[in-house]
Symmetry: C2
Subunit: 382 residues, 2 copies
């Protein structure tokens, strides 16, 4: 297991390729692959949209297109994730590597599924291929696929809540006015986070107040995320702007046959969920449905009620806060929560990164324990 | 007016010297001086405590101590502020420069007092000394002396409010508990801001709730700032910890002869101020008194009531926010303000700098208009 400086450089390039398909591959992971023979890159690629080829196959095809097929024998593959060893919608990548008689594979992370993880590596090694794990990039590799890794290893998605607040932590004025606390650059940046998510989740309060579309509009994207609304009482207007023809899921505990049928014609799926004793949609039901659908990343864009419920149930892994340099005074809180009686025992988040976005600042914070358990998954003993 | 690369380098060094006496010179400005002869530094210095010598005189003395007195003739002086031309507690520095037959002075800023600004430059030029203004450093020079420059040119101090909040903008829990939202590193960093200020200002609410000393304790400082309390009803307990023997000023509209006499023996000055129609101490009276006392920088460390009043009256120039990565929910707001009805017309602050401080983040924001009017003062046509 010796990783050289050259190895690190090629892996960095493979990670950049994975990053380049951030908005495309869902529900598959974003993976990059660089093929090197004798210190020359002979092919490279990244996973395509679901059902399309995985990174290794794209890179092999690239090598063939460039007339480098003969150089595959003896080559080294740099892959950001352990090559798959099972038949899914495409045949196992490990087989393709073995078939081309390559000599070495460097990976940045093991397969996060505890049931299959290591099998790709084992199969390659049995075929006489050297496999090295470049653990140096595990943080970076996780940042590219936190949702996929969480879904495969923990049975739940990676969830961030996007909040646009004033410096004094308000989402809106007392009278509900919230357009616009933050600037245009922040709103545009926020759409990039929607674009990478599997689902954009909101609550009925936000739909009734702001009537948002919650899709990606400020740039062209190959795949619109699904939108989902938590709406216990099924209050959503049938002409809400969110029903724009692209898929929407509504989670409710209220039956309304006619409304259901009307909405189903607009590409809306109505899912029955249990009602909690507080009269809220049971978020455990929603999360179970998300898992069944293979949702990796959940982008929450909601008001204090849903944010408060998600926060109190520990369902938010990361915060994406766009903060405007403004003081508002009385207004809508970020999270509707019960008052604490003491500060001891409050688990702080950790700061991930802070950046100026136009006239605002973007703060990213994360639950360190959740992140660390995913890092462990990616590095567990082979 | 040609400023060379070498000039910039020497001026940078003079600014570093000015910065080095940040906690010392009040109410005088922090000034640095570097003397160069033939590309060699022959002396340097910074202003000492009030009544002591100014930077130019310290630097000349340094040159003498180093046996360089003969090299003063023909030397260039780099001074961060226009040399003074009037008799204060010390004789005018311009005279000393002329007397030593120096050949050139480079300054980073004109004297901010509109009545005397330019006189030092004029006197030097009349004596045949070349004077150049290195406008490149005006931002940096202002950051070192915003209070002095504001006091001399605008008749009021430079004011920042230090706030320790949760991510959701709360100073304390609903029940008042605030110890500790932010970490030890933040509290220590905050003491550095106290140390540079002329006065630490708080309200009676904070005294009654937290009973703080508001002095500099986490490191040794040559000068403790004065502390001031806004206490309309004169409720402050005579044994409050803030009465530690160092000077405290209490602003009140309530008479209590006995309490006054008792406190005066503890180095406390009780100042009568008017009562506003809302029953608050008239902050204009307080600011007028600050001006009379020559206070440059005001460090506010207070609760929502005083912060709200200061904010609403436009008396806060800068915010120094230590933000903990914690969500608190219901709690004490940063500013007690009336609700706004619309977002339009709200003047945003500008971000100055953002830094990790231990486990917290420190956000500095400022009123751009105020800052720019001080920049103008420093650069006005000679």
């Amino acid at each position: 297991m010796t990783i050289s400086e050259n190895d690190l450089q090629y892996m960095q390039q493979a990670l950049a390729l994975a990053q380049s398909v951030l908005y495309i591959t869902d529900p598959n992971p974003r993976v990059g692959c660089v093929i090197v023979h004798n210190q020359h890159i002979i092919g490279e690629g990244a996973t395509q949209q679901a059902g399309g080829p995985h990174a290794e196959i794209v890179a092999i095809q690239d090598a063939k297109n460039k007339g480098n097929v003969a150089l595959l024998k003896g080559a080294t593959f740099y892959v950001t994730l352990e090559p798959c060893s099972h038949f899914g919608r495409t045949p196992p990548c490990a087989n393709a590597l073995i078939q081309h008689q390559i000599s070495r594979v460097v990976i940045a992370s093991l397969d996060p599924n505890p049931l299959v993880g290591g099998q790709g590596v084992n199969r390659l090694r049995e075929a006489g291929i050297q496999v090295d794990v470049a653990t140096q990039f595990v943080e970076q590799a996780l940042a590219i696929n936190p949702g996929f890794i969480s879904r495969m290893s923990k049975g739940k998605p990676w969830v961030w809540s996007k909040l646009a607040t004033s410096l004094d932590g308000k989402l809106a004025l007392k009278n509900g006015v919230s357009q616009w606390i933050t600037g245009e650059a922040s709103r545009k940046d926020g759409q990039h986070w929607r674009a990478r998510s599997s689902v954009v989740l909101t609550g009925i309060g936000t739909v009734l107040k702001d009537n948002p579309q919650l899709n990606v509009r400020s740039f062209i994207t190959p795949r619109q995320p699904i939108r989902a609304v938590i709406d216990g009482k099924f209050q959503i207007p049938i002409n809400a702007k969110i029903f724009n023809g692209d898929k929407v899921i509504v989670y409710t505990y209220t039956d309304d046959e006619l409304k259901r049928e009307t909405l189903e014609q607009k590409n809306v799926e109505i899912i029955n969920a249990s009602k909690t004793s507080e009269g809220f949609v049971d978020l455990q039901d929603v999360w179970a449905d998300f898992q069944q659908r293979g949702f990796n990343e959940v982008h929450v864009e909601a008001g204090p009620t849903l944010n408060g419920a998600l926060w109190q149930q520990g369902l938010i892994d990361e915060l994406l806060v766009y903060m405007a340099p403004k003081i508002i005074g009385p207004g809508q809180e970020m999270f509707a929560l019960n008052a604490l009686s003491q500060l001891d025992g409050l688990t702080p988040l950790t700061w991930v990164d802070t950046q100026l976005i136009g006239t605002d600042i973007r703060l990213r914070l994360r639950q360190a324990a959740r992140w660390n358990e995913l890092l462990d998954v990616m590095q567990r003993a082979e």
